[in-house]
């Protein structure tokens, strides 16, 4: 199925959870903030949220800035 991650379309497995997607990208879940279809997903819910076709996901983290 297809979803959009950080503005890029991607094919992912059916039924994948948000936590699984984050870990599959080599990211530490405790350093990532997720916004799914413009709603913030609390970190403790990453494992419970299943992704659906057409979802738009933003994954952000802190970088250097002033």
């Amino acid at each position: 199925m297809q979803i959009t991650v950080n503005g890029e379309k991607e094919d992912i497995a059916e039924g994948l959870t948000l936590l699984e997607l984050i870990e599959a990208r080599g990211l530490a879940p405790n350093t990532v903030v997720a916004e799914l279809n413009f709603d913030i997903v609390p970190a403790q819910a990453f494992a419970d949220v299943r992704l659906n076709p057409g979802d738009s996901l933003e994954l952000l983290h802190f970088v250097g800035g002033g």
Binding site: E35, I40, H61, F62, G65
Partner: protein
């Protein structure tokens, strides 16, 4: 001779007592691994970060920030109040506290903050319980609008971001310091410790320095120099400087009793 005991002179922002009046940033370091040593040498307690989309395998900057530092995420990248509010909520969701530096910029050449959008974002986020520190032009009416919107401090610029040009807005900063009941944190443009010292002598509550430290040849040493400058400026402000005399010189030593 007796030692003067250190003055208890905390800076209180959003109910938090700070003992350092130097805020630092995390941008533009040649090597982010320097950040912990700069935190130590500068004795800063507040550090800014930005939020961006994460690349595959990306690690971000958070692993380089010592746990005692208070994070001040900025909303850089926001072009209007709505985008700033969205970024602020995401930053808070990261679980690193509720402080936020509002930064709303739509002009990519001058990178000057949009006061109207900044005040709007401040109002929304203060109502949601954020400790809001808006980055603003050194403008009296924008400062007052942010105060009325619930800001915890105001952060006027000394010069355009990243220029190291110092206190180009000095006259206006003086007006804000005199007018504002909120702490005035001079943000942006401070390139040298002497400029930070001058801002503190004028009565600024704190200085935020990123480029001035990060772009120096030795950021750890420069962090220490800025700490000393901010402390000296603050001490001078508290001491109250002597009157400036116009015209002729005024002797410091007695003008009588000379050996002839």
């Amino acid at each position: 001779m007796h030692e003067t005991s250190p003055i208890h002179d905390p800076l209180v922002i959003g109910g938090v007592e700070l003992h350092s009046r130097l805020f630092i940033g995390t941008g533009k370091y040649g090597d982010d691994a320097l950040i912990p040593a700069v935190c130590e040498s500068s004795a800063s307690q507040v550090i800014t970060v930005a939020m961006r989309r994460v690349d595959r395998g990306g690690s971000g900057v958070i692993g380089h920030i010592p746990p005692h530092m208070r994070l001040l995420p900025n909303t850089s990248g926001a072009r209007n109040a709505q985008e700033a509010v969205r970024l602020a909520r995401l930053a808070r969701a990261a679980g690193c506290g509720n402080w936020i530096k509002i930064e709303v910029i739509s002009d990519t050449r001058w990178l000057l903050p949009d006061g109207y959008e900044t005040a709007k974002a401040t109002e929304i986020l203060a109502a949601e319980g954020f400790t809001v520190l808006p980055y603003i032009n050194a403008d009296l009416y924008v400062a007052r609008a942010c105060r009325d919107a619930g800001a915890a401090a105001i952060m006027p610029l000394g010069a355009p971001i990243g220029t190291n040009r110092g206190l180009k807005t000095k006259e206006m900063l003086g007006i804000l310091i005199e007018d504002s009941e909120l702490p005035v944190v001079v943000d942006a443009g401070i390139g040298r410790p002497s400029q930070a010292c001058e801002a503190m002598e004028m009565g600024a509550a704190a200085c935020l320095v990123n480029t001035g430290i990060a772009s120096s040849a030795d950021p750890v040493a420069m962090g220490r120099a800025f700490r000393q400058a901010v402390e000296a400026g603050r001490s001078a402000f508290l001491a109250g400087h002597g009157a400036v005399q116009s015209g002729h010189a005024v002797a410091s030593s007695p003008l009588t009793g000379f050996l002839r």
